[in-house]
């Protein structure tokens, strides 16, 4: 993180990472990963639903109908933007499936 914006002064230094991703809580790493995915999916789903609620409220004030939404054809730029957002969505919600926890929950800190 510290080096990411290194062209400008950030007053950040390298941190000592936590090993939370190595934790094995539920007896099976795959199960742990699925739980992570479910939580992240919940965040994305609620984010989407809340946006729809906002849009409904705004559109109602402006007279936009559901039919106008159904008929909308995205531009090429919009398609590209949405694909990028889809990839971020997949990384957030399903990326944790690739985590590989192995350290038992009762284990002490590893030696550094």
């Amino acid at each position: 993180m510290a080096a990411q914006d290194s062209k400008r002064p950030t007053y950040a230094t390298d941190a000592i990472p936590s090993d939370v991703k190595n934790g094995l809580f539920l007896g099976n790493a795959a199960l742990d990963n699925v739980v992570s995915c479910v939580i992240a999916m919940g965040a994305e789903l609620w984010s989407t639903k809340r946006r729809l609620l906002v849009m409904q409220a705004v559109m109602a004030k402006k007279g936009i109908t559901s039919e106008m939404i159904e008929q909308y054809v995205p531009t090429e730029a919009e398609k590209a933007d949405w694909e990028s957002d889809r990839d971020r969505f997949v990384d957030l919600t399903l990326g944790p499936l690739a985590d590989g926890g192995f350290r038992p929950v009762g284990s002490n800190f590893p030696k550094r």
Partner: protein, 409 residues
């Protein structure tokens, strides 16, 4: 009624705004740098912040996007549910394990005994796993936004670094001690390792408060704590020190209660004090911030009338806590008040459920030093070091340790 053409028109306007934003940001940043009064500075800061944010809700700038705001809203909602249902679910399993072992929930246990017990049934840990997963989403979404828009947020901080009314002292060449580099609360980069540590911490911890103490989006908890802080017997409060100030909510509240005092907030995290100073400047609050260590503040002997800290000591190794107390004694004037706000502490055994929570928070929420803190008797450590405890004092933060001390030696 708006037709499709108008929708396209709105989209085109958005693109045009995006193209000119860089120039506008630079102009707004220059206005911050040129401001010659507290009011001008605060106005310029608000204008600059407004170019990226979605307005403010009182003291709190709304997050940069609706999606990010909604993701944080979800993680808050999950925390609220978790504090009731998920925790209860884990406790029920833990109690069954205790029963099978011939123990009850009030049995005093050591950490090692708890560690052994929680491995006996993985179902105990569903609360831990879900809580951590939720915490990771909180940090990942916030960090993603601030890094994606790093040009703007760095520009904003660079402009604010020079703004008043309070001052900012950064120490880019200082050696950052290893003990401060841990990712407390599993926040990526911790307090020292991410340029946007302050931004991320501030918004991430709002949900901590709501699910544990109460709403703090308007600094209500910090203001309430400051309002209850005791004064020196002679009533004189000209200089105040806040050690380990983080994002400066407590420091700002101190300056607001004591507007004529010189107020300093210190933190080792450069990004933390930058954010603290920027936020205070935007609010027109003249608190000063410096990147310094609590055990080596650099202030003269007896400089402060009131020395305090806010939930900082449990983030320190025990030997550093003792050094910070020694330094607090050195910079507090005779008769001055020392009141560090932090958890109750003392003892290496606690009832089973309590010790389970303490162990889990230490180990997996990466509260690296909290076990040392909880094992040590923090109040006694202060009393051993030239301070006299005021009897029958009231808590500055209800539920936390009562540590009203006066320097007497």
């Amino acid at each position: 009624m708006i037709g499709r053409r108008e929708l396209f028109g709105a989209a085109a306007a958005s693109v045009a705004i995006a193209k000119t934003l860089q120039g506008d940001i630079a102009n707004a940043a220059n206005e911050v740098a040129k401001a010659s009064s507290r009011a001008q500075s605060a106005d310029a800061m608000k204008k600059l912040a407004g170019m990226q944010s979605r307005g403010a809700d009182g003291r709190l700038l709304r997050l940069g996007t609706l999606d990010l705001e909604s993701q944080q809203d979800f993680t808050l909602g999950f925390r609220l549910m978790h504090s009731k249902q998920m925790r209860a679910s884990s406790v029920a399993v833990f109690d069954r394990v205790l029963e099978a072992e011939g123990l009850d929930a009030t049995t005093p246990l050591t950490v090692d005994q708890v560690r052994e017990l929680i491995g006996k049934d993985p179902a105990i840990n569903i609360a831990s796993k879900t809580w951590l997963a939720n915490q990771q989403v909180t940090w990942k979404t916030l960090a993603g936004h601030f890094h994606k828009n790093s040009d703007f947020y760095l520009t904003e901080m660079e402009a604010a670094d020079k703004a008043g009314p309070g001052s900012l002292v950064l120490s880019p060449n200082m050696t950052i001690p290893e003990y401060t580099k841990h990712e407390i609360h599993i926040q990526p980069g911790g307090y020292v390792g991410d340029p946007f540590a302050g931004h991320i911490y501030h918004y991430g911890t709002n949900s901590f408060y709501i699910s544990v103490i109460g709403h703090n989006e308007q600094d209500q908890v910090h203001k309430g704590t400051v309002a209850r802080l005791p004064l020196p017997e002679d009533g004189k409060v000209k200089r105040i020190l806040d050690v380990g100030c983080g994002v400066g909510q407590y420091t700002a509240a101190l300056k607001e209660r004591f507007p004529d005092a010189e107020v300093w907030g210190l933190d080792i995290g450069g990004p933390m004090v930058r954010y603290a100073h920027m936020r205070a400047a935007r609010l027109g609050i003249g608190a000063n911030f410096a990147q310094k260590l609590g055990e080596d503040t650099g202030f003269p002997d007896g400089h402060f009338d009131l020395v305090t800290s806010y939930i900082m000591h449990h983030e320190l190794p025990a030997d550093m806590t003792r050094k910070v107390i020694d330094e607090a004694r050195r910079v507090t004037r005779m008769g001055g008040v020392y009141y560090p706000v932090d958890f109750n502490s003392g003892g290496d055994k606690s009832p089973a459920r309590q010790m389970y929570q303490r162990w889990w928070d230490h180990r997996w929420n990466n509260e690296v030093w909290s076990l040392e803190y909880h094992t040590m008797n923090f109040t006694d450590e202060i009393a051993k070091r030239g301070f006299t405890q005021v009897k029958n004092a009231k808590p500055a933060l209800p539920g936390f340790g009562v540590r009203h001390f006066v320097r007497t030696a």
